[in-house]
Symmetry: C2
Subunit: 207 residues, 2 copies
DNA sequence: GGAATGCAGTGACCAAAGTCACCGGACTCA
DNA sequence: TGAGTCCGGTGACTTTGGTCACTGCATTCC
């Protein structure tokens, strides 16, 4: 339970203690939906461990916007929670994750009482803003082969392995396209020696 | 000079006075570049009057991200200014505009001294986050005809007129596409009676 | 063993959008 | 008045990516 202290050393001790008493610690399995479009939010989740994906959805297509890594939070939940607005994205745990749920009324107090908390929130907003900029860039200016390779490399970096256990249809959903497209492009990337497709995974060739 | 008082009544009087003494009031003509990619920022501009466009650029294509309207600011300048990071977007005045330039070191103090200022900053971050979400949505999930019509309507609403004086190539740049595409799609929209093209402008047909 | 299921491969086709080349009208300005 | 420039229109073509239909594996589960 002292994880918070080591992970957020920048916050005042008294705030960390308040957070620990008021916050609800929760372990959630992989694949749990944390936030749905149109939903109102009463707790702000802080990811202590694990990984959460944030998506935009339209009809039956979706697009991965960004990942929330440990000791980060979801800015959509800030605005949705603090101003009681409906969410415009949905979020799902990618791995089994350890969350700290912060009830919004307390967060409202803390923001007033502890100005340093604002620094943290600003940082999060800024990170997500940059993530979205990057995503826009990819979607508008890059072709599928580039986007796919960037996606695979980013994932390999994050997981610390070149062997990615991924289904084509998973990739397609995250990139907002169709399974066949991924199969086709992946084959092209393989011919160009950027990746190797094994029976149970895709190997990203190190440069 | 009392514009600020009437326009930002939510801020404490003493802060507004500080802003007025430390901020630099500046009128800039239309088409002035305020922020360039890679640039470091020493003042945070607050738009008092006029209109500023914010773009993402890649090679020789660009994409309009959002507009900054009166009594709004640019979140890219927050992060670029307050953390001394290079900008990833560029901004240009669309109309002649009246700006209030806030030197970053003072803003840093104000943020600490006046917690209400944080509310304003949060609001701005949230607005831009939503703008970017909307843009992603348009770019990935909508076809050009939809995007173009949405763009024209939004613009007509903002300017309060159905008659838009726009060049095809301007539109193309803002939507990140080519002039010919706009010409083609505009013709289709005209055939479908959504717009009428006049000699000197495009009329958006009211629904 | 056989049916069902999930996954990937693939060819054919289509639609959207990007590109190229070229035209002609309007306007400007020297 | 004639050259230059800006603007929009357009046909032809290409590329990219989305869709459809169908195949062949594995694996799993009765």
């Amino acid at each position: 339970m002292d994880a918070l202290h080591s992970k957020l050393p920048s916050l005042p001790l008294s705030l960390r203690e308040e957070i620990l008493t008021m916050g609800i610690r929760q372990a959630v399995p992989a694949g749990t939906e944390l936030l749905r479009e149109g939903q109102y939010v009463k707790v702000i989740p802080l990811v202590l461990d694990g990984l959460v994906k944030v998506f935009s959805r339209y009809e039956d297509r979706e697009l991965l916007l960004y990942y929330i890594e440990p000791v980060e939070s979801c800015v959509m939940s800030f605005s949705a929670g603090l101003w009681n607005l409906p969410s415009k994205v949905f979020a799902i745990t990618e791995e089994e994750s350890d969350l700290l749920l912060l009830p919004v009324q307390h967060v409202n107090e803390w923001v007033r009482k502890y100005p340093t908390l604002n620094q943290l929130f600003f940082g999060q907003f800024n990170k997500r803003y940059e993530d979205l900029l990057f995503t826009i860039h990819q979607v508008l200016f890059q072709r599928m082969d580039e986007r796919l390779l960037t996606y695979l490399r980013e994932r390999a970096d994050r997981l610390g392995t070149n062997l990615l256990d991924l289904r084509h249809h998973q990739i397609a959903r995250e990139l907002g396209t169709a399974r066949e497209v991924i199969s086709r492009v992946l084959k092209k990337l393989e011919q160009e020696k950027w990746v190797i497709q094994h029976q149970h995974g895709i190997e990203v060739v190190t440069r």
